[in-house]
Symmetry: C2
Subunit: 302 residues, 2 copies
């Protein structure tokens, strides 16, 4: 069933131990949508500048992604640049030019408002809430956030989280949001804030899902060669919510569906890292995804 | 089948966010033996001083551990003290008083020499090799090492590894030993050095097994309360080799047996952290172990 995705559409400049790309398509919304598009019809809400290239529009369209909500305004597209550490677990930001994203005010096309699934990428919590409030028929809604909003916009974020069914967050953010260093306790605290379905992403070490029935952990997939981790967390989110949307479930989804959604998220995150930026999605097929899902079954069975 | 364990028997002083114990039974050999004793008959080779308490001998004996190879010599028992960081992922050493352990020269009782399983705790690689050479009937042999031997005794260590079927090592050590930052490549390099069965321990994030048939990963168990991680890696080793010894397998063990050994290792490591030092083993039952093994099945199934 149809999924609406809100967030940044950007250009990135990335340096990793595997190479350097000065400018390539990026942004949370972009990665989430490309990833989710393998599972379910997806439409995006975002803003770009006059410099946004037709070939990038074409890539999104080639995956069937709805672009009615992709606003184009005078100015330049959001640009981020960063350099990764030797093990690619850390990165340093070299440039954050918000450009047209600085005044992003998500505008939902009328046709989007009745859609049943909503994934809110990492943007200002009040904006996330305003989108959610325009969609009265949601079956499942949730999103992502980051340290900046947790620290400096906490009350706004807490208000926003009350309306979410799921939250995807990394482990340091989970500890920051909850004030708990023990992951199980942190998860319990966060789930009291609203999102009954909580996924804590742990980078190369996998991910852990918390829900009413307990928890589920999947280890990280070991890549032969890691080129660029940019967007991996967003691709995880796209696989997670894309799979759940394809199954038509709501917040009471069976534990098995939630677990498989986490594995599909892991599958999509692992593919993302194999090439720079969104390049892996230029050739990735649904068969590749199923084959890696099977690999996950093999590498975790005992 | 019978397992021989060689390594340190010690007293530890430990400070963690959960508390402080000035002096408690410790040492790699101690933890490995206590853990393995739930699976298979185990005997130890180690050295203690005149201060080694009868109650500690009694604890080992109560688990049926063979103590013929526990030498008692004039002087004091090895003493280590350390303090853990807030998240317990790092620790600072405050004292390392080798005492009688400084001149440890493992002496194998005659009855041990025909045993089929050997686990070499983290000691000088040449000593590990000398023990291995005294045991001609081994079905499965391996052990542990650490940064110090990898850096300063590399050629000795490489010679020792040639004679091993399995190696248990943590991820930073695996990268150091192999010179590879990619875990899969690091594992391939290390397996060429001798140990066809390689377990890379990843602390709270679980463990990954590499063998001829590929790899297997198990995520970490989430503890409600973590009191003291001292000895967790050794308890992992004890569960791993203890289970394999109980199954009578050799280096050609089926992948499923190796995977289950890694899960039993994880189970034993998780119990170890629940109390200070070896305290959890004073009450732990085989039923507790089976119940947690089942929990691992539940938390990883999808």
């Amino acid at each position: 069933m149809s999924l609406v995705i809100v967030g940044s559409v950007a250009y990135d400049g990335v340096t990793t131990p595997a190479g350097k790309v000065d400018r390539m398509l990026g942004g949370a919304c972009t990665y989430i949508a490309l990833s989710a598009s393998y599972f379910t019809p997806a439409s995006i809400v975002g803003v770009v500048g006059e410099d946004f290239a037709q070939q990038d529009v074409d890539l999104l369209a080639s995956r069937g992604i709805g672009l009615e909500g992709l606003e184009r305004v005078p100015g330049k597209t959001f640009f981020w640049a960063g350099v990764y550490s030797a093990d690619m677990n850390d990165r340093e930001t070299l440039a954050t030019d918000l450009n047209v994203f600085a005044t992003f005010d998500p505008k939902l096309p009328a046709a989007y408002k009745e859609q049943p699934y909503l994934m809110l990428g990492n943007i200002q919590p009040a904006l996330q809430r305003s989108v959610r409030e325009q969609m009265p028929s949601l079956r499942l809604v949730g999103g992502d956030t980051m340290n900046f909003w947790i620290n400096d916009f906490r009350s706004e974020l807490l208000e926003t989280l009350k309306g979410w069914n799921f939250l995807l967050i990394n482990d340091s953010e989970a500890k920051l949001l909850s004030g708990e260093s023990n992951l199980k306790k942190a998860a319990a605290r966060i789930r009291e804030l609203g999102p009954k379905i909580l996924v804590i992403k742990r980078g190369e070490f996998g991910a852990t899902l918390f829900h009413d029935g307990g928890y589920f952990s999947v280890p990280g997939y070991l890549l032969d060669s890691l080129k660029d981790p940019t967007g991996a967390g967003d691709c995880f989110a796209g696989g997670f919510i894309g799979y759940l949307a394809s199954r038509g479930v709501d917040v009471n989804a069976p534990a098995g569906e939630l677990a498989r959604a986490v594995v599909y998220g892991s599958v999509m995150g692992s593919f993302c890292c194999e090439e720079f930026g969104v390049d892996r999605f230029r050739t990735l097929t649904r068969d590749d995804i199923e084959a890696r899902f099977q690999e996950f079954q093999k590498l975790t069975a005992f």
